[in-house]
Symmetry: C2
Subunit: 290 residues, 2 copies
């Protein structure tokens, strides 16, 4: 069992992979031994310059299929907005990595495709614990090592990471003051990516999938404080996988406040994400600093 | 001889490699058969949305060692500023490419390291014609295919590309209304990168290098309309290769207007470039739209 439990002492050591001054702050990349995944995990953190002893609100960004922390760190164009708003930006990896971690040849399952679940099925269960990693272990590490005010957290993400942001926020209403997503998978129960991943990680009992499905969580009574979603109309995954309309309908049905914007001409890429990133950061900052 | 000359008809066909909507404009990547280099060349162009029949000023960005068009296109964070200012942004490659193009094992010579010269020495002379490619062929192609006002051009670049921007502007004062650079190599005559590259491409006669050296061009009488340079103080190449002080001294000596800013804590990476990109775009736009 790679994961330690109970009262065992966790290793909170952090290795600095790189540190670059950018937009008047520090963009770092860090690695640590995760107790949850039993692997070495990498993530990035941008910390704006701030007063001594000042603690800043935290915005989590969960990435999509095939990505690591690096995609948004290089292409996300979040630093100017985070520096202006005084918000820390944390970008985790999307799965455990390493030679001893189970994998699948497909891009949408296994490494790079953790779907932010705690897997219950073999061979995935030992390492694929991205839910507990994001919900518990990494926040503790961030609180320990960065000038973060963990009482003020927001969360966003892209595609599979949009699914992660929505479901983690819906299950942890007390933790997140602000929630948004870029082109999220809104209902894994109702799309091929989701059926493959949740079936593989969680098994055939679709009832067990509902806590990993934003639409099902809303149907089952979970609520968000508010919600901002941007979705490109030229996104090739919109019709077959993302199915934004299911989220619109679920929110409408129960009166969940949501601003879900369809953006003409935009696709699924970071050219889309970066375009609307500053608006999302500002939207989070408004709520985190209220 | 791969290069056509004289009155032969040039093939101005452009292949669209990719096209993505971004920041209310179009980020494209294009390829074409270059007559100058005798190779297929790739470059990127961002065109902000604009009125029908409106022609926009053009900002050229020349990249540094090892780069292609892709680095700045993905990491440069220029699109918001260009969209706001209504400026087209063109990013060429840094050398000819392909199996029949001479190369060197080092990162600072051969492919990815064209130094914006027309090589006179073998085996480089047939394909390494980046000066003529940037000065003549690519502008004609851009004028043909994009809504560009070629009467309003600015130029910038990074490191080797900063050298390219400065020297091309100094040799073509009538073409560029605005010139800037990020961490430029200011004097190839006086640094190891430059001595290796210019020696290899141009031969041992250092007199022939002077038209490819910004400091020498200024000493020999060339002038810029004005100049903005940002240079990180934590840039590991500052002391041994970039030698910003030589440019400061050359400008001071002859009264060349220049704003040369040393930026504490910043290094040579795109984390530095992206931080100051919007200021450079605004600086160019002010002059291009005056």
């Amino acid at each position: 069992m790679a994961r330690k439990q109970g009262n065992e002492r966790h290793d909170m050591t952090l290795e600095v992979i790189s540190s670059n001054r950018s937009f008047g702050g520090t963009q770092g990349v860090y690695a640590h031994d995760s107790q949850q995944t039993g692997t070495r995990m990498t993530f990035s953190v941008f910390v704006p310059d701030h007063a001594p002893d000042e603690r800043l609100p935290v915005l989590w960004y969960l990435s999509g299929l095939t990505c690591t922390h690096a995609n948004v760190t290089e292409k996300g164009e979040f630093r100017r907005a985070c520096a202006e708003a005084g918000v820390i930006f944390v970008a985790p990896d999307t799965s455990p990595r390493g030679d001893d971690v189970a994998d699948d040849d497909a891009y949408d399952f296994g490494k790079g495709a953790g779907f932010y679940v705690d897997a219950t099925q073999q061979p995935w269960a030992p390492h694929f614990r991205m839910r507990s990693y994001i919900e518990a272990e990494l926040p503790a590490l961030v609180a320990e090592h960065f000038p973060a005010d963990m009482g003020r957290q927001g969360i966003t993400g892209h595609s599979m990471g949009g699914h992660g942001a929505l479901t983690i926020a819906l299950r942890n209403a007390e933790r997140f003051r602000s929630v948004s997503a870029f082109a999220p998978i809104v209902s894994p129960l109702n799309c091929p990516w989701g059926e493959k991943a949740l079936g593989g990680y969680l098994g055939d009992d679709r009832g067990a999938w509902r806590e990993y499905d934003a639409v099902a969580l809303i149907e089952d009574g979970a609520r968000l404080p508010d919600l901002l979603v941007d979705q490109g109309e030229a996104d090739g995954f919109l019709e077959g996988q993302l199915k934004t309309h299911l989220l619109v309908e679920a929110c409408d049905k129960v009166g969940q406040p949501a601003t879900i914007r369809m953006q003409p001409g935009y696709d699924h890429s970071y050219y889309f994400i970066s375009t609307f990133m500053a608006e999302h950061v500002a939207w989070h900052a408004e709520r985190l600093k209220a």
